[in-house]
């Protein structure tokens, strides 16, 4: 829990940086810069959900909806 708290504090620290203005976000708005998995990767995520003991924290399911782990 201490590590998680440290992560959150560190993450919060970034918010104090100078904000990037909307007109400066050309590169940030590039489709490849999205902070989510590529839509086409959903099937890979699905078979990994079946074939591995670990799941979640990737925007996909952490369980449920299938007879897998």
């Amino acid at each position: 829990m201490r590590k998680i708290a440290m992560l959150i504090i560190m993450a919060s620290a970034f918010t104090s940086c100078v904000a990037v203005k909307e007109y400066q976000m050309v590169n940030i708005n590039d489709p490849d810069m999205k902070l989510t998995a590529n839509k086409n990767n959903r099937f890979e995520t699905n078979f990994q959900l079946y074939r591995e003991g670990a799941a979640g924290a990737n925007g996909g399911k952490g369980g449920g909806g299938c007879g897998c782990n």
Binding site: V26, N41, A54
Partner: protein
Amino acid sequence: MEEKVVVDVDVINKAMKKIFAVILLLVSMNAYTQDSTAVYKKRVLENIEIDFLTSYYTQDGNNAAVTGGIGSEKITDITPTFVIAIPLNDDDVLIIDAGISAYTSASSSNLDPFDKSGASSRDDGNNNSSNTKVVGSPWVASSGASQADSWKSLNANYSHSSDDRNTVLSANISLASEYDYTSFGFGGGYTKLFNEKNTEISISGKVFLDSWQPQYATEINSYIEAGESLNNGFFSGIPILDQNGDLSVKSGADSWSPINTTLLDNTSRNTYSLSMSFSQILSRNAQFSLFFDVVNQSGWLANPMQRVYFGDRDNYYIGEPESIPNYTSSTNKDVFQLADDIERLPSSKFKLPIGARLNYFLSERFVLRTYYRFYTDDWGVTAHTANIELPIKVSDKFTLIPSYRYHEQTEADYFAPYEENLSTQEFYTSDYDLSAFSANQYGIGVRYTDIFTKFKIRGKLGLKNVEMKYSKYDRSNGLSSGIFSLGVKFVLD
């Protein structure tokens, strides 16, 4: 009098004209107001978007869980899916996601390895069908009801964005079914952007209320159906062999029986998950996010199809006695070992995955996408997963996307290979998905993008992008798989 009426009608006509003029003015003002607003409030989604996604997956390995951790893991799976995003108005979007996963599985087929058209089609050589022997093998796909199935799913997600686009509320509902499993899910989420949209915090919850329509290993099911007798039902007239290949007695302490004739006592399987994420733009070229899930599952978490063989119990077989010494070899095509029990696992599981993404816009040509996840649960599995993608913009329309993923995990407390669990344990499984292994996945993808959607179908459906990817996945315990995926996005003008 008549003149008065004519004058009154003129007055009324003039008054009506004025009223119409005022109404028209109000309508036009309203329209103008709406147009003015539209200038300042961009629609969350401009047009209806339709994604057609599909994949073709194959795998093979030697540790099928349905046959107790030994046997063919051959699977093929094809998954046509449609995702339709519909803007309901400036602020609200509805996403409908409907898909099918149609698969064939050698492992699942061996729920009944003695199916007549599977391994048991072998006869004794005299062309007399009545003399066809009942045989089976964990290495030969049978053709019972469980050899092919389809998983069908339907999801709906509704989201509402605030006027300043700094708050997003969402709700979703899902349904899924396959022949032995159904799922109903729902959830909601809240996202807040601040710091000039440089920072985003999101929280969401999901509930899945799933249930089994359990299917069992045929020998266990038949034994229970026959009143726990080997002289009735399926086993009537079928010889059972011991480890030496000799005929076994069919009653008494030296005969085969599963150790537990109580199967599922609870068909529900519920999942409750809470997800939190934090995203931050670091510079004009870099941003990262942290994901944190808390997942609790309860109910029947084992798979009732999966057999277990104990190391401290005698072994019994149906089939050819001379193949028993080669049982664990893929050369065994005609003998099958009777299960000691189905997989048993605790009725609750607590999972804690924590993930992070860091994306960096290296140049006009290269983008670096990285992902790492740490996972732990109270069944003893701890895992590390890392993924890296390097989209290369070959031209303004084509992007090449090489990727690499590494995964390693420790084994669950209840896992042991074929014949290594003990009947004295409370929980046991030989499912290699819960074993210790590492896995490497290499992928290559290509994407074609046309932001102007020049290519149109029937003049209205504009092609926005096409993406293809192939990935090869190899696990250190021998399982190997490949997946080809295709995604096509259309925009409705």
